[in-house]
Symmetry: C2
């Protein structure tokens, strides 16, 4: 027999299987317990445009009569509107379920509260998990984190930004010589590719492009053929001449490659996407302006991969929501290294950036620290 | 029924209870299983001068006849010589044990192999764990780590050095203003006091002394009244004038406070311990010379707590065996921070320092990364 907590944890686990495949939808998981609390079915939203988690789970149930007195746990409020797929709430309302417990209220004004209303109207008990069970703060945090990009973009109407950096224990990304290959090991690098699949776009600065000529594609066995967008910050547009023969071009269609330039720069005809942004007092691209243009271009989430100047700017401006730091158990020396925060400063200690809901994992001999930055 | 692996793990757990209380002896744990593999007794070396682990365990056994066919697991080879306590090997030889499995061969030439020989001579089977069980690499690592200070000092005839630093995610110990209070949280700070109890002496540089006036005593509920020695690196001896009214003086007897000065400096009479060291090309105290003098003064292990210059020097010279980094999930900015490696440099990436057998733990919201540096 599963408890509310156990069932929702299982639904979260299911939802995670969809990570990287379902954007701009959120990952969603679903678990169905029979009247005795035994597992009847579980399911998840597998791919954008495909079945929602509730439907995926219901497909495993051979006879509707098995649902008599059953409880469905779903990580997000069942949808009320007909989008790519029919309304889940209506489908659930037609079933002999006793109860539906959902994790997070849908932030989409088209759906929020309406799904719950449709189900309740059919005589099925509906509860948000916070009301259904005591002490679920940790589960609530997990549920929010699972769908954080979706929740943020719908609540804030802004692009979600994650920063990613791989460093030594002393916070160095590379040796002063520029040498940075393989600071972290294979498992960390594979996970970094998984992360790329989880964000619409990967962003780098001009210097990183010119120095490293990175491919920035998703090289991960689960995501073969996955297409991520690329954004290069380049005030003057000087990277365009080099883009044609770059590894980015080899790995991406030109319509997925965005070059962010200053509004005042005139760019001759080319096959890439040019996004024109305001500049700040230093003549650099204003990141707020960039994010507005990105949002207007339906880029819901960005993974910022460097270099140090770009990472520092996002930290300085407080424009990032999530932070990932891979840490290799190595020491490079600040005197001979490149720190990812070398352009970031605070005027006193209380101004420091602080991660919330920090998570820690081991990837081979490396560590991954991640948390919310806002 | 316990396996060899299970019994030795339990013995390691027992041994750890003695950490901080037994130096210069190593922590040792012991587990006794009866002829059927059931737990008969466990024990550990509780305090320097007190019973060895084997004797501590045997005291729990009411009748010697219970030991018929029993196996004893002990983390270190039973001692052969009569020191503060009678020889354990002789005691074991007098018992009806079937077998003794030990973790690590004693590195002390007075004992090495002799303990095993005495027991074997009495007709009891004796094995080092590597021979007794397959795939115990992890257990062997744990056993070596448990007694690493003891093993190092006896094998190398040198003082064991551990470096300890508390930083932000970007490797900063403090804000440029010097502000560093409470970068890490309470649990990390408590653990740092536990570490102090585990090393004979705590070492700091002159700058840290003059700026922070730290007490450097062990403030930990398990170690009330614990006396650690203090070493201050101070080429010219200028700290002496300030020591009299310092927090170090308040918390320590003068005979436990060592000031390491250059050989050429003449120091007027005072109540502290003056240790005279060679200087390097830059006129700074030569750390090799310091460690030799420390070893001659029976200081077997040193915990280096800072500042950045001292930590960097130990890293640069490759003179540290263990490294502890507490990492708070905060970002201070290299531009406005003090990096603990700001005086450490390598000429290329392969020269980086690398931790072996890295361990990771969570202390509140902070992380602790530790590993061997040599």
């Amino acid at each position: 027999m599963l408890t509310t907590r156990g069932a929702m944890s299982l639904a979260i686990e299911e939802a995670r299987k969809g990570l990287g495949f379902v954007a701009p939808n959120p990952p969603v998981g679903c678990v169905v317990l029979d009247a005795h609390g035994e597992l009847l079915a579980k399911g998840f939203h597998r791919v954008f445009g495909g079945d929602h988690a509730e439907i995926d789970a219901l497909k495993q149930i051979k006879e509707e009569s098995l649902l008599k007195g059953a409880t469905m746990y779903v990580t997000l409020e069942p949808c009320a509107h007909e989008g790519k797929t029919p309304s889940c709430a209506k489908r659930l309302a037609s079933l002999p379920l006793a109860k539906v417990v959902y994790g997070v209220c849908d932030p989409n004004p088209l759906v929020s509260g309406k799904g719950a209303h449709i189900i309740k109207h059919a005589g099925i008990q509906v509860e948000e998990i916070a009301a259904a069970s005591d002490d679920v703060t940790d589960i609530k945090n997990e549920l929010e984190e699972l769908a954080e990009v979706f929740l943020w973009t719908h609540r804030e109407k802004k692009t979600f930004v994650a920063l990613k950096v791989a460093t030594s224990l002393d916070g160095q990304m590379a040796h002063v010589s520029g040498e940075s290959k393989w600071i972290t090991g294979e498992e960390a690098r594979l996970y970094a590719h998984f992360l790329r699949a989880n964000y619409d776009a990967t962003l780098i600065g001009k210097e990183t492009f010119l120095r490293d000529d990175p491919g920035l594609d998703v090289r991960h066995p689960q995501f073969i053929g996955h297409k991520n967008k690329i954004i290069i910050l380049d005030t003057s547009g000087e990277t365009l001449a080099r883009l044609e023969k770059s590894n980015i071009k080899k790995a991406h269609s030109p319509q997925d490659v965005y070059v962010a330039v200053a509004k005042t720069v005139s760019i001759s005809a080319n096959e890439f996407q040019i996004i024109k942004c305001d500049t700040d007092a230093n003549g650099k691209i204003d990141l707020r302006s960039l994010l507005e243009v990105a949002y207007a271009n339906k880029i819901s989430s960005i993974l910022v991969e460097g270099g140090a100047r770009v990472l520092s700017s996002f930290l300085q401006e407080g424009l990032a929501q999530r932070f990932y730091q891979f840490i290799a158990p190595k020491i490079i020396g600040a005197k001979s290294g490149l720190s990812y925060t070398r352009e970031f400063s605070i005027s006193n200690l209380p101004e420091r950036r602080e991660l919330r809901n920090t998570k820690l994992s081991r990837l081979g001999t490396d560590l991954l620290v991640t948390g919310r930055l806002d």
